[in-house]
Amino acid sequence: MIPAFKKLGILVLVTGLLLFFGCSERENPAGPQISEGLDYTGSFYDSVSFWGNLSGDLTQRNIGVYTPPGYDPTNTNARYPTLYLLHGFWGNERYFLDYFSLKEIADEMISRGEIKPMLIVTPDASSKLGGGFYTDSDSMMTAAVEYTVYYEYTGYDSMGNPAGSTAVKDTAYAELTFTGEYETYIWRDVIEQVEAAYTVYDGPWWEYTSFDNLGQPLDSVQHTRPARDYRATGGHSMGGYGAMKIAMRHPDLFTSVSAMSAPLAFNLLIEHIPDVYSENGITVGDSVGYYALSPSQAKPWTTLFFSMGAAFSPHSLSELDTTYFHRLAPADQGFVGVDFPFDPDGDTSSTIWNKWLSEDVTTMLDTNPTRFAAALDSLEIYIDCGADDQFEMNLHAEAFDAALTSAGVEHDSPAYYSGYGNLPANNFNYIADRLRAVLKFHSGNFPDE
C-alpha cells in the first residue's frame, strides 16, 4: 500500500513541475523603438543660379533637410554625413518625403542601426515644364536683375512671431539663362547653403580643448575630416540622371552616387519620338500638329521632350524661327521656346541632338573616358530599375552598365526589381523599398567613426 502511494507521490511531483513550466507567462519582445528625426522644408535665399531665368521659374527655392534622431544644431562636435537626394520629373523638395515616406524609412533604419545617422537633403529642381534636368540651360544674355537680399519683418503677433515682412531687394548683373542653372544650383548653392546651416562634415574643423574662467576658448585642436568622404548623391528618374552627371563632373565632392530608374542613355530616347506623335494623335509629317504640340501632364513623352529641350536646347533669342522651334511664350516676347531634336517628319537634327548628347552620361563616358572613367572609378556606384519600367529605363541601366564595363569602371551590376501580384515594377511603384537599398548603400560607404 505505502510503496504505491510513494509512486503516486512521485507522479504528482513530476506532473506538478511540468505544469509549472508549461504555464509560466511568456513575454513578447517590446515593439521596435523608433526615434524620430525631423523633416524641415524651408526657404533659403535667392540662388543666383536662377536669377532672371526667361521661363519664369522660381528663383527662391525650398530645400528639404531630414535631420536624424538626436541631431542637435547647437552641438558642433557632432557631425553628420550628408546625402543629397534628387527628385524625379514633376517632383519638388517634398517628393521623397511626401510620396515615398523618406523620413519614416530613415527613422526606422537609423533606429534599427541599419544605416548611420545622416542628413538627407532634398533640393527643389522643379520647373514649369516638370523639371530642370539638373542642367545649366544656355545663357541668353547678361542683364541687371533684381534679387531678394533678405526679408525685413514689419510686424509681430502677440507672441512675438513675425506677422509680416518686406523683401529687401538689390540689383545685380547676371547671366540670364532660359530656365536656370540647375546643375550649378545643386553642386554649388545647395551644398553651400546646407553646410552653412547644419553641422555636417564640411572639411577641417576645430575642437576647443580648454576654456578660460569666462568660458572663452583658450586652445583648440584642428581635426581634418575629408568632407568628400561624407557626401553622397543619388536620385530617382530625372534625379538619378542628375546625380550621376553631377558626380561625374564633380567627383571631388562625393564619395558615392546612386541612380534609380534613371535616363542614363539618351540614345534610347530617340526610339520614343513616335510616342510624341501618337500621344498627340498626329502622324509623322503633320507639320500643323507638330507645331501645335504643347506640354501637359497627360502627355508624358511630349512634356519630357519640352522639358529636356528647355534644359539642353533652348532656342537662342538671337535666332528667328526654325524648323525645330516650339514657342513657349507669346509671340510679342520674341522667340522664347525650345528646339526639339526632331522635325515634323520625325528626322533628327544632329546639331540639336548633339547638344542633348553632350549632357548624356553614357555619351560623356564613351567620348571622354579619360576624364569620366577616372571620375566614376573614384565613386561607389549603385544603379537600380524596375523590370517593368514604362519608360524603359531598365534599358538605360543596361546601356550605362555596358558603358561602365567597357570603360573598365569597377561597379556592381544594376539591381532590377520585379513586381508582385498586380503591382508592376514600374518607374516609381517600389521607390519606398528601393530607398532602403539606396540608403544602405550610401551609409555603407560613409566612413565609420
Binding site: A4, L11, L19, D98, E104, Y417, N422
Partner: protein, 489 residues
C-alpha cells in the same frame, strides 16, 4: 497516508484547474474525452469501459456495471511561437508588408478551462442496456497574436489593434447515447446522436491590393508602395449548431482480448454572426495634394482616401464549419487482473475542410457590396496511432500511461498562426486514479511535442492573388491536465 495523498491529488487537480495547460490534437480537435482514455493515449476503442466511451466507442457503454456520473475538468495551455518572415516580391525585390518579421512572437498565454460531463444509467428492466448523455468539448482553439502593423510609410493615423490575428473555437458536443449488450459478454453495440454547439471568433489582417481607378479617366492608378495595399482588420464572431452521430461495436474474443471499432460522422456547423471590417487608411500628403490639384469634385473626394483615418462597417456573416468524420479501430489485451494494454488506429477525414468562407452580406468600409472572405485550408486526412497501458497497483490506486502519434492535417501551403497545428505530434500521457468507495478520482497530464516547421514560400492555392499561408518558423508545445470525479451507483 491515504488521506494525505487524497488531499494532495485534490490540490494538484485544483492547481491544474487554475494554472494548467492543455492539448491540441489534429487540426483543432482536442486529444479526446475522459481522463482514463486520454491517459491511455486515446487507445480506448477496444477497451471503452468507462463513461468516455460515449466519445470513443459508444458500444462500450453497455459494459458499464453500474450507473455512473462523471465530471471532468479540462485545462488547456498551448505554448506556440511564430517567427514571421513574410515578404512579397521575389529575388532582390522582396519587400515587407507590415508583419513583424524576424522576431519570435508568442501568442497570448491563456488557459482555457472547460468541464466535460457525462451521466449514464443502467436501464432497469432492459438487460444489458445503458443510456445517458455526455457533454464534451471536442474541438478547441484559443490563439491571440500580435503580428502585424501597417508598414512604415503607410502612416495610418489610427493605431492598429494589438491583437491582429486570433482564433477562438469551441465546439461542445451534447451527446445522448444508448448501448446494448447484443451477445452476452461477447458483442456490444452503441450509438449516439450529436448536437454540437459552436462558438467561433476569427480575426486576421486582410491585405488586399489597392487597385483604385482614376476618378477622372477610369484608368488603373498604380499607387506606390506601401499604398499599393490596403489593410483591413477583419473580425468574425459567430455561433451555431451542427448535428451528427456516432456508432460503434465492441467484440470480446476472450477474457483477455477485445476489439472495438467506431465511426463518427462529419458535421457541418452553420455559424451565424457578423464581421467587423475596419479599414485603416493611409496618410500620404503627396497623393492627397496630387488629386486636390487636379481640382474636379471626384478627384477632391478621392483625395480623402489619403488623409488617414478609419472606415468601419459590420456586415452580417455566415460560415460553414465542417468538422471531420473519423473512423477507428482499437484492441485491448488484458493478460491479467493488473495490466491492460491497448492500441488504436484512427482515420480522420480532415480533407472535408477545404476552406473557410465568410459569406458577407452588407457593405465594405468604402461603400461597395462586401465580397466573401476566403481562408483556404486544403487540409489533408490523417491517421493517428495510439497506445496505452494501465496498471492496477491495488484496489485503490491505478496508474496509466499513453502515447499517440498524430500527423498535422495542415499543408505548408495554408499553414498560418490562425490554425497552428504546426507539425506532426507526439503525445505523452501520465495519469492515474484513486478509488474511494463509490468515487473515483482521476488525473491525467499530457504533454504534446509538435515537430517544428519552417515555411519558406508564400502560396496562393486558390489563385486569387492573395497568399494563403504565412511564411516563417513555427514551434508548438502543448500541456494538458484533466481532472475527473466519477460516482458510481
Amino acid at each position: 497516508m491515504l488521506r494525505k495523498m487524497t488531499v494532495l491529488l485534490w490540490l494538484l487537480s485544483f492547481l491544474s484547474f487554475l494554472l494548467a495547460a492543455s492539448s491540441l490534437a489534429g487540426g483543432f480537435a482536442t486529444s479526446g474525452v475522459g481522463s482514463k482514455a486520454v491517459g491511455m493515449g486515446g487507445a480506448f476503442r477496444g477497451l471503452a469501459d468507462d463513461w468516455s466511451a460515449v466519445y470513443w466507442n459508444p458500444a462500450g457503454l453497455a459494459q458499464l456495471e453500474s450507473s455512473v456520473v462523471n465530471i471532468t475538468v479540462m485545462a488547456t495551455s498551448h505554448r506556440g511561437e511564430y517567427t514571421p518572415n513574410i515578404k512579397l516580391g521575389e529575388g532582390s525585390s522582396l519587400y515587407e508588408i507590415g508583419f513583424k518579421n524576424g522576431t519570435r512572437w508568442f501568442h497570448k498565454d491563456e488557459i482555457s478551462v472547460f468541464p466535460n460531463a457525462g451521466g449514464f444509467l443502467k436501464l432497469p428492466g432492459v438487460k444489458g442496456m445503458t443510456a445517458g448523455v455526455g457533454v464534451s468539448l471536442n474541438h478547441d482553439l484559443n490563439f491571440r497574436w500580435d503580428l502585424f502593423d501597417p508598414p512604415v510609410g503607410y502612416k495610418n493615423t489610427v493605431e492598429y489593434p494589438e491583437v491582429d490575428h486570433s482564433t477562438r473555437l469551441r465546439v461542445i458536443d451534447f451527446h445522448p447515447s444508448v448501448a446494448k449488450e447484443v451477445v452476452e459478454n461477447k458483442l456490444f453495440f452503441g450509438a449516439g446522436f450529436s448536437a454540437q454547439y459552436c462558438e467561433m471568433d476569427l480575426r486576421k489582417t486582410e491585405i488586399t491590393p489597392n487597385l483604385q481607378l482614376d476618378p477622372t479617366t477610369g484608368d488603373t492608378i498604380w499607387l506606390p508602395r506601401p499604398l499599393d495595399h490596403l489593410y483591413t482588420d477583419v473580425a468574425f464572431e459567430g455561433k451555431g449548431w451542427g448535428y451528427g452521430f456516432n456508432a460503434g461495436l465492441l467484440f470480446k474474443l476472450n477474457p483477455k482480448f477485445q476489439i472495438g471499432v467506431s465511426y463518427r460522422s462529419g458535421t457541418t456547423v452553420k455559424l451565424e454572426g457578423d464581421t467587423k471590417l475596419d479599414l485603416y487608411l493611409p496618410q500620404n500628403a503627396g497623393m492627397e495634394q496630387y488629386f486636390l490639384d487636379r481640382g474636379t469634385a471626384e478627384d477632391t473626394s478621392f483625395a480623402e482616401l489619403f488623409k488617414g483615418g478609419l472606415l468601419s462597417t459590420r456586415p452580417d456573416a455566415e460560415l460553414d464549419l465542417k468538422l471531420p468524420a473519423d473512423v477507428g479501430v482499437g484492441i485491448a489485451y488484458i493478460p491479467n487482473d493488473k495490466l491492460t494494454l491497448t492500441a488504436d488506429v484512427s482515420f480522420t477525414q480532415w480533407d472535408q475542410l477545404e476552406l473557410l468562407e465568410l459569406e458577407l452580406e452588407g457593405m465594405t468600409p468604402v461603400g461597395d457590396s462586401a465580397e466573401n472572405i476566403t481562408i483556404v485550408t486544403n487540409w489533408e486526412n490523417t491517421v493517428r496511432f495510439s497506445a496505452g497501458l494501465q496498471y492496477v497497483f491495488n484496489e485503490t490506486v491505478t496508474l496509466r500511461g499513453g502515447y499517440y502519434y498524430d500527423p498535422s492535417p495542415v499543408p505548408d501551403e495554408t499553414l498560418s498562426p490562425l490554425f497552428p497545428d504546426v507539425g506532426d505530434k507526439n503525445s505523452f500521457n501520465l495519469g492515474g486514479s484513486m478509488f474511494l468507495g463509490d468515487y473515483e478520482v482521476s488525473y491525467n497530464f499530457e504533454y504534446i511535442s509538435f515537430w517544428d516547421r519552417d515555411i519558406d514560400t508564400l502560396s496562393d492555392p486558390n489563385g486569387d492573388g492573395l497568399f494563403d499561408n504565412y511564411t516563417g518558423s513555427y514551434k508548438m508545445n502543448s500541456f494538458s491536465s484533466l481532472f475527473s470525479l466519477t460516482y458510481r451507483f
